[in-house]
């Protein structure tokens, strides 16, 4: 399928498609502005079919922007859940700052406003030669281009003793849902004076600042309800995202309630005993927990492995300009499943990547060169109520590789005053409202 490949005109502006797409990528949810000026099209051949697997930050964004940019495209989103709960802000839920339902989003806007066909099934398998998806309901779905945004799956057993049964006793809560509720119930049941132990993995993993925000919010809960308790963070790394700011915030709000043990201090856990709530470190120290939260080693969502797009790292190598699979042409992979370092595995970046992939797919269908993308990320973390910290960066492709734009970002200053930190916490809330509106059309409640 092809057409003239010329740029289109947005009513009232003379912006080129290239610029428009670039801005959407760059400004994340600011791309909504483009919705008010939908493009005008000439007649074209029968619509190409795009299937999108996964209705999270990456997939829902890709589906929406494909339809927004080209309403006559045939776009189907395959996502088992009718209501999607975000991992972002589950830590705030655990800390008692946020109601769980406020983290739920549905697919009504995608269907009703943008005309995405939403199928609430699982994609069980991918036939890349026949260009078909096999669905859990028994049906099949044909596609001309495929987008996979399945997020992560746990590498069960990669950490000795940590399998699915163990996760029912020592939850990971690294996917939002039953695991999150389990952790919250255990937290409520924990005795005052107990020790909460979090096991943090090696890179790469979903949400680099996540484990540190997690213990912050747990400490907030404990300080409020069970002040004699301790938090121990056993880490397989010697340094982590926003480390200085986290340490500063912990000292400020929690004194020495939180203890962090890094790799060189024997922080790496090599075995979990979920029945006894014990972990063993590399040099043989046994730590016993009242409540054990294991953030385990991860890999790309299983469907990516079925599609044959992963490599031996367990993640998906992609072409940096387009996020098309390096291994299977016609398959685009976005979000946590990809190897996109130095970009983090964040919802913010998955949303950007969804827009970039949408633009690249349209260019590919038109036989045009894909627009040159720019991505951006901001990771907010909330350490205590009204106390936020931030890291931001802009990324582009240089010499065929994804790179940080030098000098484009950084962490928020250390030693900032309470008002500054309160503003950062507000930015985090505003970001959440903005991005969930961009992806799922949600309106903040209350």
């Amino acid at each position: 399928m092809s057409n003239d490949g010329k740029s289109f005109i947005m009513p009232g502006t003379s912006i080129t498609r290239r610029q428009a797409l670039k801005r959407m990528g760059l400004f994340g949810f600011g791309g909504l502005a483009a919705a008010s000026g939908l493009p005008v099209y000439a007649a074209r051949p029968p619509a190409a079919r795009v299937a999108v697997v996964g209705g999270g930050f990456g997939g829902a964004t890709a589906a929406k922007y494909l339809k927004m940019l080209r309403p006559d495209l045939d776009v189907t989103l395959v996502e088992p859940a009718r209501r999607y709960y975000t991992c972002p802000f589950t830590n705030l839920y655990l800390g008692g700052l946020r109601d769980f339902e406020s983290l739920g989003h549905d697919y009504r806007e995608l269907g009703e406003t943008f005309g995405v066909r939403v199928v609430h099934e699982r994609a069980e398998d991918v036939d890349v030669d026949g260009r078909r998806l096999k669905l859990s309901g028994g049906g099949e779905l044909s596609w001309d281009r495929l987008v996979l945004s399945p997020g992560i799956d746990i590498r069960w057993g990669a950490l000795e003793g940590y399998d699915e049964a163990a996760a029912e006793k020592a939850p990971h809560a690294w996917k939002a849902g039953p695991q999150t509720h389990l952790l919250r119930r255990q937290l409520e049941a924990m005795e005052d004076g107990g020790t909460f132990v979090l096991v943090a993995p090696e890179n790469p993993f979903r949400c680099p600042p996540g484990p540190y925000e997690r213990v912050s919010m747990i400490a907030h809960y404990l300080k409020t309800h069970k002040p004699r308790s301790k938090v121990l963070l056993l880490d397989a790394k010697d340094n982590f995202s926003k480390q200085g700011l986290f340490m500063e915030g912990w000292a400020e709000h929690y004194g020495d309630m939180i203890e962090w043990v890094g790799l060189s201090d024997d922080g790496r856990v090599i075995r979990v005993d979920a029945d006894r709530l014990e972990v063993e470190t590399e040099f043989g120290t046994i730590h016993r927990a009242s409540l054990l939260n294991v953030v385990p080693p991860q890999k790309a969502g299983v469907i990516a492995h079925r599609a044959g797009v992963t490599d031996d790292s367990g993640w998906v190598p992609v072409e940096p300009e387009t996020f098309q699979s390096r291994k299977v042409p016609g398959v685009y992979v976005i979000g946590d499943a990809t190897q996109a370092a130095p970009m983090p595995k964040s919802g913010f970046v998955a949303n950007n990547q969804g827009k970039v992939a949408a633009a690249a797919i349209l260019a590919d269908l038109d036989g045009r060169e894909a627009p040159r993308p720019t991505w951006m990320n901001t990771c907010y973390s909330v350490i205590a109520p009204d106390w936020g910290i931030t890291v931001a960066n802009v990324y582009e492709v240089t010499d065929g590789e994804l790179r940080e734009v030098p000098g484009s970002g950084g962490v928020s200053p250390s030693g900032a005053n309470a008002e500054f930190r309160r503003n950062e916490a507000r930015f985090a809330e505003a970001w959440y409202a903005g991005i969930t509106q961009d992806v799922w059309g949600s309106r903040p409640t209350g």
């Binding site: 010697d238 340094n239 995202s241 500063e248 043990v261 031996d312 790292s313 790179r403």
Partner: protein, 290 residues
């Protein structure tokens, strides 16, 4: 993300020289320094860019000198390194060589090089047959995306080679300063299997607290921080060498060494570390066979 955290690292560094700290924070600060101490000044660019059809070992003077005209055989050396790493200051590396370890024929030496570092040597490793298997794990510094090369020599005089490419997305290059908490300097940790069956290959882990200062960094005033590294590590079982390592500055702060041991009688495994300022440390543990 490490590169841009430096502002906070420096601030924390100031604090470290000020008020007393609780132990949890102390550890944390020390570990911050570990990251910073992993930093390299930018080298004089990549040593070599494209392969140009030559074998990897042909691209490195140090390797050609070491080989002295011999042509190494590919295939037997397996290097385990992440294909992409976000932290060039501590990249986990395992080298495993498929070759007998009998008195008659064993791997006696293993040389490791990082082709894109300012100085390519990582470590020279000498095995005894008592190791049971020619395998070593450690953590290394890589200041940019590059190729890691391993050359091994067997007791029969054969040479083996293997290599692996690594992409480093955030290098340790940007740091100018960092602190290292010298309180625990030369503190050691070991893990030795207390019991093995005869012929069983056991797994030994060691770590020593040491900044492994590269000599390539500058402090805030722009003065070069002098090199200070652990130079040598030895493990001996009842006086017989199991493994001896010559470490270079590409070994990460707090050197971690993991290797096998396969004794056939009970006895004591002794460990020795020496740094280049004359400091040393020793440790020992018993292994029972049966």
């Amino acid at each position: 993300m490490k590169g841009i955290d430096l502002k906070t690292q420096e601030t924390t560094g100031h604090e470290a020289r000020g008020a007393p700290l609780n132990p949890g924070r102390r550890r944390a600060l020390r570990a911050l320094a570990v990251g910073a101490a992993g930093a390299w000044l930018l080298g004089r660019g990549a040593l070599l860019g494209e392969s140009g059809g030559r074998a990897v070992w042909e691209r490195l003077d140090a390797a050609r000198e070491r080989l002295d005209g011999a042509r190494p055989e590919p295939g037997a050396i397996r290097l385990d390194l992440p294909g992409v790493t976000q932290d060039g200051s501590a990249v986990p590396l395992t080298v495993d060589i498929e070759h007998p370890m009998s008195e008659e024929d064993y791997v006696e030496a293993l040389y490791l090089y990082a082709l894109g570092n300012p100085t390519p040597e990582i470590a020279d490793v000498y095995f005894g047959p008592l190791a049971g298997r020619a395998r070593l794990s450690t953590r290394i510094r890589l200041n940019q995306s590059q190729t890691v090369l391993a050359l091994a020599r067997t007791s029969g005089g054969r040479w083996l080679a293997g290599h692996r490419d690594v992409r480093v997305t955030v290098s340790g290059c940007l740091s100018q300063d960092g602190t290292y908490d010298f309180d625990s300097l030369m503190r050691t940790r070991i893990r030795v299997p207390p019991r093995l069956r005869s012929g069983e290959v056991g797994d030994v882990r060691t770590l020593i607290d040491h900044p492994m200062e590269t000599g390539l960094r500058e402090d805030r005033q722009g003065r070069t921080i002098p090199e200070r590294i652990i130079k040598e590590f030895r493990a001996e079982f009842e006086g017989t060498p199991v493994v001896r390592v010559r470490l270079y500055r590409a070994i990460s702060a707090n050197p971690y060494l993991r290797f096998p041991v396969a004794p056939d009688t009970s006895g004591e495994l002794a460990f020795h570390w020496h740094d280049d300022q004359g400091e040393s440390a020793t440790e020992a543990a018993r292994i029972e066979i049966g």
